[in-house]
């Protein structure tokens, strides 16, 4: 285990003041489900001399409904997300993603903020938040900024945030009436498993089956998690055709290969990305 000093943030202000004071020499711990493994494996950067615990900051743990807007504190645990009736009603895609994570023990500690900040390629809440077009609220010292989640990632395990910046909140609009959503995940076993790949989809069709809105995101697919807008455009404003489900999958798999290169796993991932996409679209979209 690496060595460090430990401070416990008493409040949000306290946390931000301390972070600002440490000028990048402090690392935040929330649920610890990722960071503790990093500490065990000596992966903490040598710059860092202090671990600041925000797990006790109650101000960061909430799920609120404000009109059309859903606001989630970054310190909310996966278990809290998975149990929230507000979420199951407003954005089941996120509830399903949270419920699928690791194990009860992991879900009781791991937080949505941590999932985003660690930004593992297989992070389950990330594709869900991408299709929800979530906005992130960050604070550095006294200044606060908002950024779209789609603009937040730099690469695997890298985000565009300063070392002394704290993620406060994730917000998004609730699903529109009649919208369907889905989260699916392929794993090597049925619990305690990282996603080999995961997929989140939101779809809205009018009564004539014309697609008004479609958002697709897959995890463990591209270096920077993203929505697949080319595939989405295939359906927008049209009545879906069955053959387009697989076509959408092929568009996504080509994009994957283009962005990630042909890797050891591509022989497997390419057909599976196509199949997962087609299967998910088939479930959320009514075709001709």
């Amino acid at each position: 285990m690496q060595e460090f000093d430990f401070v416990k943030a008493k409040s949000l202000d306290h946390a931000c003041t301390m972070l600002a004071g440490k000028r990048g020499r402090a690392k935040v711990i929330a649920g610890g489900t990722d960071l503790m493994i990093g500490l065990r494996n000596h992966r903490l950067s040598e710059e860092v001399d202090t671990i600041m615990d925000i797990s006790g900051v109650g101000e960061l743990a909430y799920i609120r409904e404000e009109g059309e807007l859903i606001r989630i504190g970054a310190g909310t645990t996966h278990a809290e997300l998975a149990l929230s009736s507000i979420l199951w009603e407003a954005a089941p895609v996120l509830s399903m993603a949270a419920k699928s994570i690791g194990s009860p023990q992991i879900r009781n500690r791991g937080t949505i903020g941590g999932n985003i900040i660690t930004s593992a390629p297989c992070a389950d809440t990330v594709p869900a938040l991408l299709v929800l077009d979530a906005a992130l609220l960050l604070r550095r010292g006294e200044s606060v900024r908002q950024v779209q989640i789609a603009d937040f990632f730099e690469g695997p395990y890298r985000v565009k945030a300063a070392e002394d910046e704290l993620l406060l909140e994730i917000s998004f609009r609730r699903l529109r009436d009649g919208a369907k959503s889905l989260f699916d995940k392929l794993t090597r076993r049925n619990a305690l498993a990282k996603a080999r790949m995961n997929i989140a989809v939101i779809a809205l069709q009018d009564k004539n089956k014309v697609v008004k809105d479609l958002r697709i995101s897959l995890g463990s697919t591209t270096p920077i998690p993203c929505r697949f807008t080319d595939a989405e455009r295939l359906f927008l404003g049209k009545v879906p055709r069955r053959e387009d489900f697989l076509k959408a999958g092929q568009i996504i798999s080509s994009e994957m290969v283009e962005k990630s290169g042909y890797r050891w796993s591509t022989d497997y991932k390419k057909p599976v990305v196509e199949a997962l996409t087609a299967a998910a679209l088939k479930r959320v979209l009514k075709a001709e």
Binding site: M36, G56, Q105
Partner: protein, 160 residues
Amino acid sequence: MKKIRVSLRVNGRIFTLETDPNRRLIDVLREDLNFTGVKEGCGIGECGACTVLMNGKPVNSCLVLIGQAEGSEVVTIEGLKGKNGELHPLQEAFIEAGAVQCGYCIPGMILSAEALLQNNPHPTEDLIKEAISGNLCRCTGYRQIIDAVKIASKKIARKE
């Protein structure tokens, strides 16, 4: 590395200690407080042998820094027995169902089951499987453990 002062309640007793901040909850429970029923299997939260209840919820004590446990209420397997040494219904049920083989996963397994029964005294089989899905057992294949949780659920219902 500055030592920190931590107070926490374990199995109903308050402990205050000064310790290095890079120790985990499991280290303090096992080494300082002698609750050796908390077992270490992997150190990365993947086996659940170190499961304890923290503020009523099962967590992997290998993934909690001791400083994070400040002010919390922790229950280990040692905290389940009654005042006069009588076994908890889950402990009785694990014995009756033959759910114990090597026994190494059992403390964590029982605590995960306890958290389930606290919230849902009459869980379905699927909920039982879900509740213990973070606890690996290499001996039993889980079947007799699931049976034990069902038996415990009935025992608790009878007592109430």
